[in-house]
Subunit: 730 residues, 2 copies
């Protein structure tokens, strides 16, 4: 049964907030701007059918917590008469047990997470309303408000039909915000709202008159307060909403779990949350969310149905995709650049940020290029918004060096690894991550980020036909081509289509790839087969884009480089078609991501290049053979059947596995046989690890254990699966 | 030497913020709105004179911290070449040791805390500029800005005269804010500012061009970065500012330790920090503080000299007063009621709050009445501001019951225990603390809060001659008299001047006093001798105020009650003059606070009542005998000579001890003999406890150990000492 109790993030769109729930103990709760669960107790339960003084709860708090009342009372004196104690902690005879875990069921879907235990159903509904383009000529503010309202919906159903007395349900939490304490909601301006909150930061709210709230040192004292007036005890760290379902009836209680951060929330550049255009405080958020609960249910239906209809996917695949989407939104942050107090909404500039899970780096470019596919399905303008910001603030120009040489060769444009960290925008042209003089983790990724930019642009434009954007940035794309060519070889005559020089930004070091924490098979950028295929893709996309933009000469140069890359790759394959991880350097171990890069021509209008009988037939054939050779036990498969990205590293990344699985099936046309299904099962087991599933969806798996990139947004690469078989475009 | 290493709060006025320092380990740091130290590492040190790769530091961080870099790097693979490691953690050969503790000296004064170790001097200067009345007809905004700027000043002096090479000093920290990460300051709008900050919340800043900053996984990598460019590593949790003092020279480096909380910071009622009238962000605060460093030094001189000139006090007394004042300001919070974005400054309402130390209750009235004396010395308008808010929002009317009876007797006006907790203003007429049906801690304090109100008003008006206020509130004072009389006995003919009925707010319970966590000797309000003397004082003050306000009939009624109280007290004394803790109920154990209440007539224009030959001579004589009998070994003295408030409880409160010591010496005219000096010494030892001095100044001492009311503002009762002997009015 342990596989029930994994954390899932339930998040508004763009609030960098998560109501996380599912792992046993005080390991979930209402988190804001954090790279991990808030570690708050969450109280969910129902009065027992057998005993009005016994309550049963879901196991989301610790039962041996400290009694806060001891901080106030002199435990060495007998001053406190015993008859008073029940006002402060547990009234006599009242007990709370966890539900028998065997009686608990859970169902996770794209937009819902539903727990049932006895006569109680607890359901979290995540907002999934469409997020329209805020930079459109006439933005749809009603839709934007619905999509960005920083709350999730909770529904609690009590089936009391088999009981002849009213029974009490409860839903509450203890907040961990260090700067404020729990309070009961009693704003006179919102008299019909009730709930528990920590200042104006976060809280749970109901608008149903039958719901009451309480606060105490102990949950028991809230549930069965000796004096109901004493439920208003603002010193108490435990808060819960209560409602009694009449005998023989069913009832549904609806809550908004709301978040709100006021004022300027960033440094480096001022920004406020986009939602503050529409909401002035936590209560306004809660009120609106509750009033629009039916809308959120409807959009959740749509999202759930969309996944349910993907019958070409097995249950393990559907579960992983749903889980990944939940974590993606937990990292999303929709801001307005500018200072709220000083600006009218018209003067604000929307800024989309996806934070990098536990690391909280902002718009890490090597994640953007992976999450691209999901974002284009859901809200394509966010891709443009992030790319525009890379162009405006996080582009740079470098020179280049050959290994061990001086930085004397012409380079060109590239882009930083990220745009900042934890709500701090790094200065123009700087990331939070990249350092000089390194050969491993924290070095620069100049070449890969350049290909990431080109690939994002290509797929974005194919999807949106945003010709204005292409016209505006044609010169920039020409610069990208020059920069990418320069990174091959300073002498055009000696180019082979493969990155051969490192950026001056690395100083005396060398560039790495996004696989920064893996071994050299994937970590080193120069001559890397993963990056080589991505470079080939970039040249193909540039050829296409520059042709469209009427730059035939540049397009021709791109085509020539694509051909060189393909030729070099084909000539590097061994007799069985296997490609080495690093070309020319004796790193012959196979890696799965050799096939990753062909997703871009496939989705950016260059399927002609992937035609088995087309101009690059030899390369396509090699990649097909390579992956067959790699996906063998002892090579790129773990013992449990899970995919091992590099045959020489135990560190395997689920987001990239998902992407390569799409390429494997959809582009290379491989059959998903028993081994494929076994890998899906293995990956689910990894994510449901009895200890590490605390981290919700995680990416970096060390022999199946989440050891890095936890609480991570990148798993939405699995959204590509939805477009398999039944669809030909994303 | 252990007595050096106690925490002291260094706080701006009204920012609810503290740069806390002094306890060993990561136990101080930059805290905002917290009831305890931020538990952040603070890095302060200097390059060794003997070895440029060795640094010596004050012991304010832990040396066995986790290496954050392991979160990013795959420790199971050999991907990371060893030659790179020194970019991430300690470069080879660089070491940091703590200074030999025997070589460290510390001096704490009213406004300064100075550490010297070897050639390094580290000094924190707390802002002590006068805080003018913001509600004056023409507020002095320049002075208000200087007084409320949320920063403290740090001066670091390096004496490098005996060294023939430049030496590097460092000052830095790692921030604990859960919602943001450390950043280097690089706002283009503040190009000449440099420092380290957590988003816009808090940071350390310098405006000296010779100061540089760095950020890394390890302090060593900041101090001796292999590549200086790599000091800008925003993933690094360790940040420090550095400066090199040239060979043979002395240098002083000046920093602002700044705080800033943007937007609405409260719930219940909207409020922003008052300082946001003048400052729009952290950098503006730091810039201003550095530009005005000389002003802050000058005001610190004034405060230090004021204490130094109090030569009638011994060193232990001076140290305790200085320490208490530091903690007082750490709990102060100066707000503007209203919503900043919507209001012009003219529409905002200044609101002074003192938070209750570790409990963070706001304007707890039984603290207000103790801190009154200090506030009248420093910023008398804050007393009026708090009283006005009690009148406007936190007054209520009750009925009364005799023990075990119904709540059928007329009551009257009283005031809540507090105005909220942790930035949440509780609803009108409600505190965060008081519950019904209790007989101990968390019950209501209706009678005592009523006397607290009267005593605050009396002392405030005597000090300020604010006749407008008296005129405006004369009716209210008459109501207070009625209410206080009603709490004596429902039948005027049976009144004895002592509280005999409990508020209907207690339900079936009974009222307590501010000594809530003590045993019945001080905890029970009804018939309590402490409250009886405070009631006598209240009647005396009401008589005086109502006479001044030309309400002779009411004044006469107050006088009659004062006489009854005095008569009852005198008749309750035993043959030796000793008063029982609780009258009529057999609780005969002596308590020190029997004498506490006479501070009010003494400071509110009723010294006539304290004349040994005056109308209350008998009572004054009894109190003198009582305290002599109490202050005996085994009665109200601990073994170490410290004062024991109640002979039957080990829980003794330093703030109240300070107050009673003033009464003992100044009003009762007792000599401060060896026993007195021994008590001062004992109290210093309590506060310098090797473990519990983590909590800076604390109030509730259980046999000399701080066990409650820690990190507490109430110790400023010691400011009364300044007015002894040399002064006749505060």
């Amino acid at each position: 049964m342990s596989s029930l109790f994994y954390n899932v993030q339930h998040s508004p769109i763009g609030a960098f907030a998560s109501f996380t729930l599912g792992f046993r103990g005080a390991k979930g709760g209402l988190g804001i701007q954090q790279g991990r669960p808030a570690d708050e107790p969450v109280y969910i339960g129902l009065e027992s059918v057998d005993d009005p003084n016994r309550f049963e709860a879901l196991p989301f708090f610790d039962r041996d917590g400290n009694d806060e009342s001891t901080r106030y009372v002199d435990e060495d004196s007998a001053a406190e008469p015993e008859q008073d104690d029940h006002h402060l902690s547990a009234p006599p005879g009242v007990s709370i047990d966890f539900f028998d875990e065997k009686a608990i069921e859970r169902e996770l879907t794209m937009a819902r997470d539903t727990w049932t235990a006895g006569d109680l159903t607890f359901r979290v509904i995540s907002p999934r309303a469409p997020l329209p383009d805020p930079e459109a000529t006439s933005p749809d503010h009603d839709a934007l408000k619905l999509a960005t309202c920083p709350a999730v919906i909770v529904e609690i159903e009590v089936d009391n039909t088999r009981c002849d007395r009213a029974r009490r349900m409860f839903f509450g939490f203890s907040g961990n915000d260090p700067y404020s304490a729990l309070r009961q909601v009693d704003d006179p301006a919102h008299a019909d709202l009730r709930g528990l909150a920590q200042t104006s930061l976060k809280g749970i709210f109901s608008d149903q008159p039958e719901v009451i709230t309480g606060q105490a040192f102990a949950l028991e004292a809230v549930l069965r307060s000796v004096n109901p007036g004493n439920r208003r005890f603002t010193l108490g760290p435990v808060g819960a909403a209560l409602a009694d379902t009449p005998a023989g009836q069913k009832a549904t209680y609806r809550f908004a779990v709301a978040f709100y951060v006021d004022g300027v929330v960033t440094s480096g550049q001022d920004a406020t949350y986009f939602y503050s255009r529409y909401f002035d405080r936590l209560e306004s958020v809660a009120r609106y969310a509750l009033e629009h609960a039916a809308d959120y249910r409807q959009h959740a239906d749509r999202a759930d149905e969309h996944l349910a209809k993907a019958t070409h996917l097995n249950d393990d695949q559907r579960w992983q995709l749903a889980h990944a989407v939940h974590s993606y939104y937990g990292s999303t942050e929709f801001l307005d650049l500018g200072r709220a107090a000083a600006l009218s909404p018209a003067d604000r500039t929307p800024c989309w940020v996806v934070n990098e899970g536990e690391y909280r780096m902002m718009n890490t470019f090597d994640l953007t290029v992976d999450m691209l596919f999901y974002e284009l399905q859901q809200h394509p303008w966010t891709v443009r918004n992030v790319l525009d910001r890379f162009i405006d603030r996080y582009a740079y120009h470098d020179t280049l060096h050959v290994p061990g040489g001086e930085n004397i060769h012409p380079g060109g444009i590239s882009f930083t690894h990220d745009q900042g960290i934890t709500n701090h925008f790094t200065p123009v042209g700087m990331s939070s991550y990249e350092l000089a003089d390194l050969h491993g983790c924290f070095s620069h990724m100049s070449c890969e980020q350049l290909t990431n930019f080109v690939c994002c642009v290509g797929v974005y434009l194919e999807h949106t036909h945003d010709t204005d954007w292409l016209t505006r940035h044609t010169g920039l794309l020409e610069d990208c081509l020059v920069s990418l060519c320069n990174r091959d070889h300073p002498d055009p005559a000696q180019r082979n289509g493969i990155m051969g020089l490192d950026s001056s930004r690395t100083g005396s070091g060398s560039e790495i790839t996004t696989y920064d924490s893996l071994d050299t098979s994937l970590g080193q950028a120069r001559n890397n087969v993963y990056l080589a295929v991505k470079s080939w893709a970039s040249y193909l996309l540039l050829e296409h884009l520059l042709t469209t933009a009427k730059r035939p000469q540049a397009a021709q140069a791109a085509r020539a480089q694509a051909q060189r890359t393909a030729d070099t790759l084909v000539s590097s394959a061994d007799a069985q078609g296997r490609l080495p991880a690093v070309l020319f350097e004796g790193h012959d171990a196979p890696i799965i991501p050799a096939i990753e890069g062909i997703v871009f021509p496939y989705l950016a209008g260059r399927r002609d290049a992937l035609d088995p009988n087309g101009p690059y037939a030899a390369l396509v054939a090699v990649l097909g053979k390579h992956i067959d050779a790699a996906l063998q036990p002892g090579v790129c498969l773990f013992d449990d059947g899970g995919w091992k990205l590099s045959s020489t590293s135990i560190n395997s990344w689920l987001s990239k596995i998902y992407l390569c699985q799409y390429v494997y099936r959809e582009i290379l046309g491989k059959t998903w046989n028993d081994a494929g299904h076994a890998s899906d099962r293995a990956h689910v087991v990894w994510l449901q690890h009895p200890r590490l599933s605390y981290w919700a969806w995680s990416d970096q798996m060390h022999s199946g254990e989440a050891r890095g990139s936890r609480y991570y947004p990148r798993g939405v690469t699995a959204a590509l699966w939805l477009t398999e078989s039944s669809a030909t475009t994303i």
